[in-house]
């Protein structure tokens, strides 16, 4: 019954979608409305981006500039979505033990956080010599690479999201190799939750700065008054970078938070 209903719904939806496909522009058509605007209308925003990004922001990577500047408002909320996901997963899944319960069991060590029980009791790291050694090499490289991606989002593909994911992965790798505890020892639970919030705060805060220069929200050009270098264009470029840092912070910590919670069913101990 459910399957029949699903089939009917899917067929109808598909038919409606395909019905419109005939009117679509050809695949790869450079003159389709998204690519070059409606004939007779104004130029499409995409052409505007391509032509003016460098002029406006001195950022060669148009995607980065559009993401963090022209449509920075979207991206702010995108970052907030990530934060939301992190918080929501925590709220749904995390098993919280009260302090008194913890004390009564007595077996937990409280190295990490007063309230959120975490433990690194099993010390599995010892038994994973190969993996541990490899990690020791790979993790710094991965983190370096993550920072590179964040920093190099201006002239090449990259940016806060991508770099943040790589950074997050490095912590996950640490957890995979040395147990969750070893990763949590480096990035404690209350830390990563705060870091996630801080990332969004940095993003929104940079946007808010421009309000004090009587410019609109997220108008990084206003920061030229603060930075004193390179005029508005460079200020935008720097603004974009600052924003990307915030994004990276949030992404890193939420990636790790998702992993930590999902892999331990919210217990944050034992591990895999």
């Amino acid at each position: 019954m459910q399957k029949l209903f699903a089939t009917i719904a899917v067929i109808i939806t598909g038919a409606i979608l395909l019905n419109a496909v005939e009117d679509f522009p050809r695949f790869g058509d450079p003159h389709s409305p998204p690519n070059s605007g409606v004939s007779g209308g104004s130029v499409s925003s995409s052409v505007h981006y391509l032509q003016n990004t460098y002029l406006d922001t001195r950022v060669p990577n148009v995607v980065t500039a559009v993401l963090a500047d022209y449509r920075g408002y979207d991206t702010l909320f995108e970052t907030a979505v990530i934060l939301t996901a992190g918080i929501a997963v925590f709220a749904i899944l995390r098993v919280v033990r009260r302090k008194d319960e913890e004390e009564s069991t007595g077996s937990e060590e409280k190295a990490c956080s007063g309230e959120f029980s975490t433990s690194d009791s099993d010390g599995e790291g010892r038994h994973r010599v190969v993996v541990g050694t490899a990690c020791r090499v790979v993790v710094p490289l991965a983190q370096l690479f993550g920072f590179y991606i964040i920093a190099h989002g201006h002239p090449s593909p990259g940016g806060g999201f991508q770099g943040g994911v790589v950074l997050g992965t490095s912590f996950i790798l640490l957890a995979l190799a040395g147990g969750l505890g070893s990763a949590l020892g480096r990035l404690r639970e209350d830390m990563y939750l705060r870091l996630a919030c801080l990332g969004v705060f940095i993003y929104a805060g940079i946007g808010l700065l421009s309000l004090f220069f009587r410019r609109n929200f997220l108008d990084y050009g206003a920061l030229s008054g603060l930075l004193q270098t390179g005029g508005e264009e460079m200020a935008r470029s720097h603004g974009i970078f600052g924003v990307e840092l915030g994004v990276a912070m949030t992404v890193t910590s939420v990636m790790f938070a998702l992993f930590a919670n999902l892999s331990t069913r919210g217990e944050l101990k034992g591990g895999l």
């Binding site: 399957k3 089939t7 790869g28 995409s46 990004t53 001195r58 999902l262």
Partner: protein, 151 residues
């Protein structure tokens, strides 16, 4: 028939593919009983939309939307000389050389949203499994029917 395929499917093959993939995902999201399978369907469904957007931004003969600095500086000089007003020489940045950046930006957002949704959904699955000991929807619904709620 061939003619129809040539005029309708071939120039838009990417859209046909996206619709088919998306419908597969949608079917799984609605029709499957296992919650994880539903999620897989949902993910496929969301990912297919990425295909729709990204293929909108494709231009024949265009490259990635990164304006290299020499071209950019040329444009800056061009503008500095007031070239925009004169219009004698062409503007140095030819948009036809670069793919449309906007769909990529949008899809970056969509990817992120997809990941976030998936994360929350998996967390929910874990909690549901903890509570009910199963991930099969009919069984869960049965259990809900039988228990008096514990609010």
């Amino acid at each position: 028939m061939m003619e129809w395929i040539k005029t309708t499917i071939v120039p838009h093959f990417n859209f046909w593919i996206y619709v088919v993939i998306m419908m597969l995902g949608l079917w799984a999201a609605i029709g499957k009983n296992n919650l994880i399978k539903k999620l897989i369907g949902l993910s496929i469904f969301q990912t297919a939309i990425l295909l729709l957007y990204v293929s909108m931004g494709v231009k024949e003969g265009a490259s990635i939307p990164i304006v290299d600095e020499t071209m950019g500086e040329a444009a800056v000089d061009f503008m500095a000389q007031g070239g925009g007003a004169a219009g004698a020489t062409a503007f140095p940045i030819n948009p036809d050389l670069f793919a449309n950046p906007l769909p990529h930006v949008l899809m970056l957002t969509a990817i992120v949203v997809g990941v976030a949704t998936l994360g929350v959904a998996l967390a929910l699955c874990q909690v549901i499994f903890r509570d009910f000991g199963t991930l099969e929807e009919p069984e869960i619904l049965n259990q809900i029917q039988t228990i008096q709620d514990d609010v």
